[in-house]
């Protein structure tokens, strides 16, 4: 449920947040990125990262066949190795939800749909809500909505808040992830404000990016967002999750994010219910590293599916 904020205090609340020490955030993210995770810890990290992946395809060229193949891969990422865990969810455009739903039924793998005029979000509230309702009705268990960055940057926080709250209401039982599109928010202060705004408005997850804007997910931005969910929880709010998405391609990257989660938010966030990695090519690299640890030989991409 959205928090009840006294009218007019939203701006005061967001601008009352402490500013982000930009140099400090970058430095801390870079320091944590140097941590070395090896052998058994690496094995655990890889399996955890696989369980946290939102396997994503958001292309104009997506076909029903590609989405079905993606769903099959989500349930059993490595056909040659049944011990490889399933991913957390697949993430597709709303019109592909009816295609993926029957494939994933009963598997425990979530079905996420982007909605609300993804990726730009430049459409009317009615259309955004209809978009969300259609996706939920078709079987989406998670909704990835985009915020109105134009309104946010113009200072119209109330509009952004109301939109998130309205979409949250349409979601029903489905989890709501709010995409901040940090690449368009320019400053870390804005990222912090947008994070708190989304949390107050009822977000279950805050997500960095659509993947359509560069820069997408970065370690410092994710650090600021992890601080926001941690502080929001410490202040008596829900324990919301974070999802960096876009540009995470290697196992090394993924493990850096896990280190960040543990050190910034805490161990209880090291769970697919509280942290996700939005990615498409990352999964193959995780599987290759997993195979390498198992067999001792470097694996090659020829042995894994392309999508």
């Amino acid at each position: 449920m959205p928090d009840t904020l006294p009218s007019g205090s939203l701006r005061a609340c967001l601008h009352g947040l402490p500013g982000v020490d930009e140099v400090g955030v970058r430095r801390r993210a870079a320091d944590l990125a140097t941590r070395s995770i090896k052998t058994t810890a690496k094995r655990q990290a890889i399996d955890l990262a696989i369980r946290m992946v939102d396997l994503t395809t958001l292309e104009g060229a997506d076909t029903p066949g590609k989405v079905r193949a993606l769903a099959a891969k989500a349930m059993r990422p490595d056909p040659a190795d049944p011990t490889a865990p399933a991913v957390a969810a697949i993430c597709v455009y709303p019109d592909m939800i009816p295609v993926a739903a029957p494939v994933l039924a009963g598997s425990g793998v979530g079905l996420a749909s982007v909605a609300t005029g993804f990726p730009a979000g430049r459409t009317s509230l009615e259309v955004k809500l209809a978009d969300t309702r259609t996706a939920v009705a078709a079987g989406a268990t998670e909704i990835d909505m985009v915020i109105d960055r134009g309104a946010f940057l113009a200072g119209d926080y109330r509009k952004v808040f109301d939109e998130i709250a309205a979409v949250k209401e349409c979601c029903g039982p489905a989890h709501l992830k709010v995409i901040l599109e940090t690449g368009e928010l320019v400053t870390y202060d804005n990222v912090r404000r947008a994070s708190w705004l989304a949390l107050h408005a009822g977000a279950d997850f805050i997500k960095t990016s659509t993947g359509k804007v560069a820069p997408a997910a970065t370690l410092p931005v994710t650090l600021v967002m992890l601080e926001a969910v941690r502080d929001y929880h410490a202040a008596g709010g829900r324990q919301a999750g974070v999802k960096p998405a876009g540009g995470i391609r290697t196992t090394k990257d993924a493990i850096r994010y896990l280190v960040l989660v543990k050190e910034v938010a805490g161990e209880s966030w090291l769970d697919p219910a509280r942290f996700r990695l939005g990615a498409s090519t990352l999964l193959n690299d995780l599987l290759m590293q997993r195979t390498k640890l198992g067999t001792g030989h470097y694996a090659g991409p020829d042995y894994y599916t392309l999508d």
Binding site: H297, Y298, D302
Partner: protein
């Protein structure tokens, strides 16, 4: 005014760092290690980078990345670039000759001969680049109204263990045919005499050869060869310098069905006309059936 005053201090020598050649750059080993290289008489020559299995991994990634671009070049263009490599080596002739003489314990004159042969080998394979299709391909007679033809295509990423006894000519003799066919290569230089390989890498870097097509590693054969042979993203393996490891490496390579060239096959490096013997193992044959109209 004299150029030199009596009190001028002796100039500090600018010594060369012998590094790896990975993806078109010259990094030190990921491990930060190096090892001393001595001449055939035991005189210390330099310290070379002691590559690790992670450098092997990075080299394979670089070679894989360079493969579509290199194999997609026209054969004619590959020939031109191979000839350019010969030109660049010619400019460094003195350096090569010095390194070969020190490594193999031969006279300056004989070393010059070896360098000439190595340069000529590039020119030789430069000529082969656009003639492979004619020699290894065929128009096949078939019983039907089809035009049926076969063409050689590069195998992919090749791992090459350079021959130990011939650090320049032998190295060129195994490397040139592999890239002539459009493959990309991860080359492990001879452990005892890696310096000519590093100098060759510096010539390659200035010869229009795209970065990553040839990646040169120096270090212990016993450390670098097994991960290379077992790597699933390596498609072919030349064991010219494998020595007694050959059997073990062949077994590892079989795990991912690599093409393997065993040591001892056509390894008279001084033969000036080796033909396609070392090219053929690194190509795949594609056969196309094309319906013939009336």
């Amino acid at each position: 005014m004299a150029d030199r005053t009596p009190s001028a201090p002796a100039r500090v020598a600018v010594r060369r760092t012998y590094k790896l050649y990975l993806g078109g750059a010259f990094p030190r080993s990921e491990s930060g290690r190096s090892y001393p290289v001595t001449s055939s008489r035991g005189v210390h020559l330099a310290n070379a980078a002691l590559a690790s299995r992670k450098d092997v991994r990075d080299a394979v990634v670089a070679a894989r990345k360079a493969f579509p671009g290199w194999s997609g070049r026209t054969a004619c263009n590959r020939g031109q670039i191979l000839y350019r490599i010969a030109e660049m080596m010619e400019g460094r002739r003195a350096q090569f000759a010095g390194e070969v003489a020190a490594a193999q314990g031969m006279s300056e004159a004989r070393a010059q001969g070896v360098v000439s042969a190595a340069i000529d080998r590039w020119v030789y394979y430069a000529g082969w680049a656009d003639k492979l299709g004619q020699v290894l391909g065929a128009a096949n007679p078939v019983s039907g109204p089809y035009f049926n033809h076969s063409q050689p295509e590069p195998t992919g990423v090749a791992g090459i263990l350079a021959p130990a006894g011939s650090p320049l000519l032998g190295l060129v003799a195994v490397l040139a045919p592999v890239i002539t066919a459009g493959n990309t290569a991860v080359l492990v230089a001879g452990e005892r005499a890696p310096l000519p390989a590093v100098t060759l890498a510096e010539a390659l870097a200035t010869s229009d050869l795209p970065g990553g097509v040839v990646n040169v590693l120096t270090g212990r054969l016993s450390e670098l060869a097994p991960p290379l042979a077992g790597h699933a993203d390596v498609n072919a393996l030349d064991l010219a310098g494998a020595g007694e490891l050959a059997g073990e490496l062949e077994e590892l390579a079989a795990g991912t069905l690599k093409r393997v060239v065993r040591p001892g096959l056509h390894d008279d490096w001084s033969a000036a006309d080796p033909g396609v013997a070392r090219i053929r193992p690194f190509v795949e044959t594609k056969t196309v059936w094309h319906p013939m109209g009336v």
